[in-house]
């Protein structure tokens, strides 16, 4: 049993008590992504607050990993600058593609370090990335990010 390395308590907690779930009133852009193998879906919306920071809303249905990952994303990036959030997003991408050999920086990734174990399960990496890919897409649509950056 290596279930605990995948389903860390932080993940289960975010799954059961998702943070910041809900859609925005006036999003700049909205991206709907599905995982075509399992049907999991997520809508991620972005806007900006007065200070220029990111405002993120989301809705979705799916497995514990995909839903917890969306919740962690919002908790981590809500209100941050585009530049800061890109740094976190890229670090998360790197961690997920590390096949489990990554050495995640908790300073940057916060609760998202809990996903380190997911990287050992290639079939679940897509679940963990679902919200993050949708975020990138929404940011590109909103003109906050250029196409192809860091993808």
């Amino acid at each position: 049993m290596n279930l605990e390395s995948l389903y860390q308590d932080i993940i289960l907690d975010h799954y059961k008590h998702p943070r910041g779930k809900g859609l925005l009133e006036n999003p700049l852009a909205s991206a709907f992504h599905v995982n075509p193998t399992c049907g999991d879906e997520i809508t991620v919306q972005v806007g900006r607050n007065e200070a220029g920071g990111l405002v993120i809303g989301y809705e979705g249905q799916g497995c514990s990993i995909s839903q917890a990952s969306a919740s962690v994303l919002v908790e981590l990036l809500q209100g941050r600058s585009i530049q800061e959030s890109e740094e976190v997003r890229l670090a998360f991408l790197e961690l997920m593609h590390s096949k489990g050999s990554g050495d995640p920086d908790e300073e940057v990734l916060g609760d998202a370090v809990a996903f380190a174990g997911v990287a050992k399960f290639p079939a679940r990496v897509k679940c963990a990335l679902l919200a993050w890919m949708a975020l990138q897409d929404a940011e590109i649509q909103a003109g906050l990010l250029k196409t192809g950056e860091g993808a």
């Binding site: 049993m1 290596n2 279930l3 995948l6 389903y7 289960l12 193998t37 399992c38 049907g39 999991d40 879906e41 249905q61 799916g62 497995c63 514990s64 990993i65 995909s66 399960f121 679940r124 679940c127």
Partner: protein, 427 residues
Amino acid sequence: MTLLDVAAIKADFPILSTTVRGGQPLVYLDSGATSQKPGVVLDAERNFYEHANAAVHRGAHALAEEATDAFEDARRTIASFVGARSEDLVFTKNATESLNLAAYAFSNATAIAHFDAHAVNPRFVLKPGDTIVVTEMEHHANLVPWQEVCRKTGATLRWIPLTDDGRLDLSNIDSIIDKTTKVVSVVHQSNILGTINQVRFLMDRAHDVQAVGIIDGCQSIPHMPVDVVELGADLVAWSGHKMLGPTGIGCLWGTEEVLNAMPPFLTGGSMIQMVEMDKSTFALPPAKFEAGTPMVAQAVGLAAAARYLDNIGMDNVAAHEHALTQYTVNLLNALDGVRIIGPANSTDRGSAISFVVDGLHPHDVGQVLDSTGVAVRVGHHCAWPTCRRFGVPSTTRISPYIYNDFSDIDKAVLGIQAAQEFFGVNA
């Protein structure tokens, strides 16, 4: 127990004695996706490569003759496995290609008819107002190709809806299959619900209105005795890899009449009669539909798989699976918080059994099972609209085969309970 000597059968499959996830003995319950291969199939392929490999139907040297013989012997073996003449059996790469081959007969004939109506058989020419009928439990492979035919010809797709217990709802069948219908293409046994459909009835209805009748036999031919001629269809498609055969080979059986009437699909070498720079004529079936160098070693491997199944006896395979189905359905029905998607009994249903667990996502159920060595499939099983019909995003599916016994099912059930426990959703 059941009729089969499962321990002996298991020993024929090298992969079934391996372990996964750090030492868990593998319990493979995902045969609806793809089956494992007995040693005899792997030996047959290798033996072909080591002793007879050459291009078939094109060469005259000794190896070319041996390769051609091996290929055509394989065709005879596989044809006789389903009660067919070998002339009526076309090799493809998988069932998806077989179904696309059937679908393209319509879009190709329609396109050619624009310029040269006499060059094609009018049965295959579609126009706006014509309808194509499928069911709401089709695998994407028997749905998307027909959507595409509609996009290309203006025809309209209709489907037979489902009842809540996962059967075809035939109450309005006369308004679904009617004079406008040119194709009726239905799955014999659903890969997600397990339902076995009354295909003979539907094929007869198709023929009443002169429609072409097609059956997706992917989940029936590996699991029960099937005589393709008796199904009453014009075309029957299935895959080799789900019946102990290699990856990379599928089959399309057709009546002589319909295979002759269909335009070719893939074109190129070995499917021609004569070629000039600006026009060609085509060979007779099955060659007409087998352009290019075929999957020779895979045909030889699939023939070995058919012989292996014949030795066990398809009646015995079906009886064994029926017993497993009954056992599984009963256990799942008894589990709190577990709901079968599809018939919740063992009447007219095969061994692919989908279910959902209250409060748990199938991915998470599958992951817990996996951590105990039990391999099941989670997702929409390429039957996404069927999931939607039952209001679930996806399911977990147990699909046993000849190498599984009751103890494998027990392990799966224990895993479901472990998942409920782990995620704290015990009923």
